[in-house]
């Protein structure tokens, strides 16, 4: 049992630091102390107690592979942040990336090799034993071997390939959400299966056919940064891109669209062709080579003809065509549009559209291709067939969990396989059904690399000692079992010698390697390649991609299964941060749901939370209804990710598994079909939706909170305009206000408040904020926020200092979703301060609303008096060891930030602009006899924000960025009429709506 050992290392680590002691104390809460001080045996050069060390590595929470920097304190990684040097991510990180920490410290990790004994139970065995068995299996397989991995675009993938080859087996890559349609569609249109990179930053008009490029599609973080640059409004570049989202369901990306078109599912291709036909017909774009070949065929897809099919009226189609051709257009297809049986044709049609607008080569760049080429669902289906046919005697699975995303057919085949070996850090569905389970290190603990995009080599290094010394790197295990010499790190370095050869520029390999380690990887510009229309492209236009035939009753409603922005394909399900992160669209936590249009719901006589049974030809699930205007009437949508039967305490037996509704057979383009027709049976049952949205009857459109400007108005604004700034107090109060101001000045000349003080402030640009919620999880990670669990969420006791509010509005472009981050406004005249009887809430000299946790007695008056409702109460002791509400079961508590107190039960807590970071910077500045520089302090939320919507700094310094941004004419304060003088200035969102 390695627990004692961990405990010991934990203390060892602690011993070196009072901060650590504070941490341990904090876990017990109150004044418990670490009674032992255990020094390092050998002091690591790069570790100074109390000072964080940063290591560059690569995020492996989804295939896009963003570069991250890991913050390590006393040998424990406590925070992940985007790596500015990285080619992918560019210094930002999404919620799933932030939550990687809960993967490495997950309380449900496998600690020792497990083997099935005679009774069919797992029993712990030694590594030597385990490796011996595994080695024997590999040899015994003689050819009937398959190694199943997730998307591995780096050396590990190569290693598996080689091993599989040398052992006569095969390497199959399985990602539940792969990009087969994209590759096939490109082949149909351009004759290449490469997936280009899309330049959102450059586009002035983005038309997305179902591609959720902001949440789950290809490289979301990159896309968000780029999209914010194009779509965000800046006085500097008045050209503000417009996003039109086409899809029967409004996803996170759809919520950020200026216009949402909900066609009949599967007819997106026709729509694309119709748009193309208009462009060609009216010569809206400069003619591309061999467009002549198309014009005739495109003629068939007249707007009127298509309007009838897809349910979007011809006028809209014409308008979209004109708008698209007007500037640098970019059309992308993916997500749900690429998950129909005719997904490839739809993508091809979209490619044609891109081609006729001349986007190809401009905003669509072949050359710096996205590396998502490995593996198709077809190959997986083949493998399953072979397994079922008994042609596989040994199956090795690592880095993927087919047991969750593949249904009954897979399990039948699984039973036919002689030996199943799973190398995994967790006992997920697949692992718990295996014969031999080998505990793998978490990506943050092991070496690897990845090539997310052509010309990008990203390195992944262990940032800390393994949490469980008994776990091993998958590469090492495979090498050892296959009897190959050396460790996987050696293998990695060997393969990097090749990279060095290409990009070394004469430096020694060690310098090159160390430099790459420091930066997180190396990159070289990949040249853009020209592509022409493929020969067979006419076929697409001739046989128009019409509404596809779906499995299930012809008259049943269409159901779309989409990847959850928080849990993705389910790999995030055992991380409480992600479980408690409200879905950006539905705002539901801890369970799954089915999206139903209110009209449809009323026709069934169901409402929010009513359980309905969805029956597809492949399975049935019982799902609670979430009524939303953000879906086409008659269409249903369910997120994947929940409904695990194993995987750990947070994931197991939660809600339903959307994959159960889907078929296991590959479709025409060797992909998986994520749409199916389901029959709906209403049950009498009901469950409350665990959400943080207020009572819908009273919710409204949040007009008081989120202000909007039309594009024209925003452009017309001159510096000094204050369209939203109302008088903060009535005329008759002028004298009182003046007197008050004098009193404040005299107050401010006393004691702590004397002299020049900064005024920490924040500016949030709602024209950039997409509601992706990366900031929320970043805040959880930085500030030791407890996750309270579904029951307490249902009782509105979530502790989330930063919450993303989502409101629905109707405007002349139809349904609009508006989002805003709501956090403590750090009011200058804060209502919370005067009412606190013990000065636990008080005003700090540097303009924060201080909250002294150890002084708070918990009268909660401050929370009553806070109009923004951003104060959160510790209803229970969330840090109590083994307590009913324990939020950090060991070793999750290793992640706690030693610079932040873990709050005791019965105290109020709230955002303080990451005051620990402020103090840290001030201490550093003091040591260097200088003042804090602008931009030196970045709160966790601002750091993480992929769309760079949050600016933080000192408002008293006129040169600071925050001062300048806050002066923007779009700026306003929420509830300005309360005269609370918030430190947070929101910049109104700008909408592409015609003037009323």
């Amino acid at each position: 049992m390695s627990d004692g050992m961990n405990r010991r290392r934990f203390l060892t680590v602690l011993g070196a630091t009072g901060g650590g002691a504070a941490l341990l104390g904090a876990c017990g809460v109150g004044e418990e102390q670490a009674q032992k001080l255990i020094p390092y045996l050998t002091q690591p050069e790069d570790q100074v107690p109390g000072i964080a060390t940063w290591y560059a590595t690569t995020c492996r929470e989804c295939p896009s592979g963003c570069g991250v920097r890991a913050k390590v304190r006393e040998g424990r990684v406590i925070k992940l942040e985007g790596n500015p040097d990285a080619q992918v991510g560019r210094g930002h990180l999404c919620a799933r990336g932030q939550a990687a920490l809960e993967g490495v410290y997950n309380p449900d990790r496998v600690t020792d090799p497990l083997a099935r004994n005679a009774q069919g139970q797992f029993e712990k065995i030694s590594w030597t034993d385990a490796l011996a068995r595994f080695g024997a299996n590999l040899k015994g397989a003689n050819g009937h071997l398959a190694i199943l991995t997730g998307q591995e675009s780096g050396s590990f993938g190569d290693l598996v390939d080689e091993l599989a080859k040398s052992l006569g087996g095969r390497h199959v890559v399985y990602e539940p959400f792969a990009f087969e349609a994209l590759r096939e569609g490109n082949r149909l249109a351009f004759g290449t299966t490469a997936v280009p990179s899309y330049d959102f930053a450059r586009a002035s008009y983005i038309l997305s056919f179902g591609a959720d490029f902001l949440d789950t599609w290809l490289s979301p973080v990159d896309h968000q940064t780029a999209f914010a640059r194009a779509h965000g409004f800046a006085a500097g570049n008045p050209a503000m891109a417009k996003l039109v989202f086409v899809g029967p369901r409004m996803s996170l990306t759809g919520m950020n669209a200026d216009e949402w078109l909900a066609p009949v599912p599967g007819t997106e291709g026709r729509l694309a062709l119709a748009v193309a036909s208009v462009i060609v017909r009216d010569r809206l774009a400069s003619a591309q080579p061999d467009v002549g070949r198309l014009s005739g065929l495109l003629g068939r897809h007249t707007p009127d003809a298509v309007a009838a099919v897809c349910g979007i009226d011809a006028k809209t189609i014409e308008r979209v065509a004109r708008e698209l051709a007007a500037g640098d257009g970019l059309v992308v297809a993916g997500g749900m549009a690429a998950h129909y049986p005719n997904g490839a044709e739809i993508v091809a049609a979209v490619n044609v559209l891109n081609y006729v607008t001349g986007a190809v080569g401009k905003t669509v760049q072949f050359g710096p291709n996205q590396n998502v080429e490995a593996g198709t669902f077809g190959q997986m289906a083949e493998l399953v067939a072979d397994m079922a046919g008994g042609r596989i005697s040994v199956l090795v699975v690592t880095g993927t969990n087919p047991g969750h995303s593949l249904g009954g057919a897979f399990w039948q085949a699984w039973a036919k396989v002689g030996t199943k070996v799973v190398i995994s850090p967790y006992l997920d569905e697949t692992a718990s059904a295996a014969d031999l389970v080998l505990p793998e290190l978490h990506p943050l603990e092991q070496w690897n690399d990845s090539r997310p995009r052509a010309g990008v080599w990203a390195l992944q290094q262990p940032v800390m000692q393994p949490v469980y010394a008994t776990a091993r790197a998958a590469g090492d295990v495979l090498l050892a079992a296959a009897g190959k010499p050396g460790s996987f790190k050696d293998y990695l370095q060997t393969s990097w010698h090749a990279v060095h050869g290409r990009l070394g520029h004469g430096t020694s390999f060690d310098d090159f390697w160390n430099d790459a380690l420091a930066k997180g990887g190396v990159a070289s510009a990949a040249s853009v390649e020209k592509v022409r229309l493929a020969a067979g492209v006419e076929r697409i236009l001739a046989g128009p991609p019409d509404a596809p035939a779906l499995d299930g009753g012809a008259h049943d409603p269409v159901l779309i299964a989409f990847p959850s922005p928080t849990l993705y394909d389910g790999r995030g399900a055992n991380k409480p941060w992600l479980q408690e992160l409200p879905d950006p669209v539905s705002k539901i936590m801890w369970h799954s749901w089915v999206e139903v249009h209110p009209d449809t719901a009323t026709s069934w006589g169901v409402t929010d939370g009513d359980l309905v049974v969805l029956q597809s030809p492949f399975g049935a699930v019982s799902a609670p209804v979430w009524m939303t205007p953000a879906i086409r009437p008659g269409v249903l949508a369910v997120p994947t990710g929940q409904g695990h039967t194993a995987f750990g305490r947070y994931a197991k037996d939660r809600s339903f598994n959307a994959f159960d509704l889907l078929g296991g057979a590959a479709n025409g383009y060797a992909g998986r079909t994520f749409t199916v027709r389901v029959s709906v049976k209403t049950t009498g049952d009901h469950r409350f939706l665990a959400t943080n949205v207020g009572d819908p009857r009273e919710l409204g459109g949040g007009e008081e909170i989120v202000r909007s400007l039309t594009y024209a108005k925003a452009k017309a604004l001159k510096p000094g305009d204050r369209p939203f700034r109302a008088r903060e107090y009535p005329v008759y109060a002028d004298s009182a206000e003046a007197g008050w101001a004098v009193a404040q000045r005299t107050e401010a000349a006393r004691g702590n408040y004397a002299g020049h003080q900064p005024r920490w402030a924040m500016a949030i640009d709602l024209a950039r904020c997409t509601g992706c919620s990366a900031c929320v999880t970043a805040c959880y990670a930085e500030n030791n926020l407890p996750t309270v669990g579904e029951d307490l969420v249902l009782r509105r006791r979530q502790i989330s200092w930063m919450r993303i509010e989502r409101y629905w509005r109707e405007d002349d472009h139809g349904l609009q979703a508006v989002v805003t981050p709501m956090l403590c406004q750090q009011c200058e005249q804060a209502p919370c301060e005067p009412v606190c009887p013990v000065f636990a809430a008080y005003h700090t000299p540097d303009g924060l609303n201080g909250q002294v946790y150890n002084r708070c007695v918990g009268t909660r008056y401050c929370a009553n008096n806070c109009a923004y409702k951003v104060r959160y109460f510790n209803w229970f002791n969330f840090a109590e060891r083994g307590g009913e509400w324990e939020a950090w079961p060991a070793p999750l508590d290793w992640q706690l930030n030693p610079d932040v107190t873990v709050r005791e039960k019965g105290v109020m807590e709230k955002c303080t602009f990451c005051v620990q970071r402020i103090r840290g910077a001030q201490n550093q500045a003091r040591l260097e006899d200088r003042t804090v520089q602008d931009g030196e302090i970045t709160p966790a939320c601002a750091q993480s924000c992929p769309s760079e919507a949050i600016v933080f700094g000192d408002l008293h310094d006129p040169a600071s960025r925050v001062a300048q941004v806050s002066a923007d004419p779009r700026g306003y304060h929420v509830f300005e009429e309360l005269n609370t003088r918030p430190g947070i200035t929101y910049l109104a969102r700008v909408v592409h709506a015609e003037e009323a």
């Binding site: 009072g18 107690p49 946790y853 107190t901 040591l927």
Partner: protein, 188 residues
Amino acid sequence: MTHGSTRVAAGIALLVCVAVPLAAQGGQPTPAVTAPVISDTGSLKGPRQPIFFRHDVHAGQSHIPCLYCHYSATVSSEPGIPSLQTCGGCHFIVGGSTPTHQAEIKKVRELTSSNHAPEWVRIHTLPAFVHFPHMRHIKALGTESCNRCHGEVREMPQVYQVAPLTMGWCINCHLQRQVTRDCVVCHY
């Protein structure tokens, strides 16, 4: 004669230390202390440590600056506990004169060879909700100011807590020196 040999030992120790740049932070010379011979360790103040490490011998008699071992106090909020490596740095050579000394030094060597860290008993602790940045205090008060809070460790055969480390005690000093008393400077 015991004294003599102890001095020799200490002298060598000091040589080794001086070789280490950190030791340059010695500051103004401190009064020469001669560590007494302790016959009855039971009568000493403070908790009994796994190794009878004598601050009075090291810091007092041998003038090893505090910051030689507690090396991160000037740069970090945490002063740091010396690793066994640090001990070995001197005691690789210095074997100790008296049997008692030798016995204690032997412990150090054994622990090092057996890869076991001694579990020192913690003496100075603050509650979890207090953040005390050592570096700022040393920056303000100088590298020789440790004794203001930790007492004359140079004269302690066995270290014990001198200051109460209560909030009132902190506040008093902050009052006298007219520095901030803002709550969120320490509590966050």
